[in-house]
Symmetry: C2
Subunit: 127 residues, 2 copies
């Protein structure tokens, strides 16, 4: 599939697709070919790759919208709060990664087919 086709399916821009896919390519989950007839191909086993792998291949984007204002501070109050917050957020992030690590692409693939089978009405897939 070309970046252009993917972008249409995802309602976004080919360059955005390439940026994202670049991370996946570096980890060998997909492969890209330039030139005529080129585009992206899958190059992994769906049951061998988890959402956690994807998250990390995408360079582990910031998970939390909250956090310490600054890591280093002179203020002992801030220090105490930072310490408590960091500890909680680290544990929670670990749980997040563990959960994502249990969801394979194969599971999502199966879920998709389940939804497709249950779907009434016309089944237009991608644009």
């Amino acid at each position: 599939m070309t970046s252009e086709a993917l972008a249409r399916a995802l309602n976004t821009n080919p360059v955005v697709v390439r940026r994202l896919m670049g991370g996946l390519r570096e980890h060998g989950y997909v492969h890209s070919e330039k030139g005529h007839g080129g585009g992206w191909t899958l190059s992994c086993q769906l049951d061998q790759v988890t959402l956690r792998d994807i998250y990390e291949a995408l360079d582990a984007p910031r998970l939390f919208a909250i956090g310490n204002r600054s890591e280093e501070t002179e203020c002992l109050v801030e220090e105490a709060v930072n310490h408590a917050m960091s500890s909680v957020l680290a544990d929670v992030k670990a749980q997040f990664l563990a959960r994502f690590g249990q969801i394979t692409l194969a599971a999502l693939h199966a879920d998709f087919h389940q939804r497709l089978a249950e779907r009434h009405g016309p089944t237009t897939l991608c644009k």
Copy 2:
């Protein structure tokens, strides 16, 4: 303490302080007085209020920096991914709230005093 003094201590602006404190006041954690000699006073027991209470008094700001692009979609693939993501994020958020619910302001207060006692050198508190 006045918003102005708090703002100096927090390296921010009095209006920002008032915005934040407003949430705390609505929940009865602090009290404010206008006019000459006015300002903010604490009006709760530190061991009765947790970080979770504060978080919720601050109107439970968005916790995660990631999430579904849109809740409603025609796309079955997106639907499957959203379902998996939402489930994980909801559970993780619950764990976050539970952890924050165990941290009282009294505990932070104690931690601060511990740090203060251990501190070498001059002890300048707030500006």
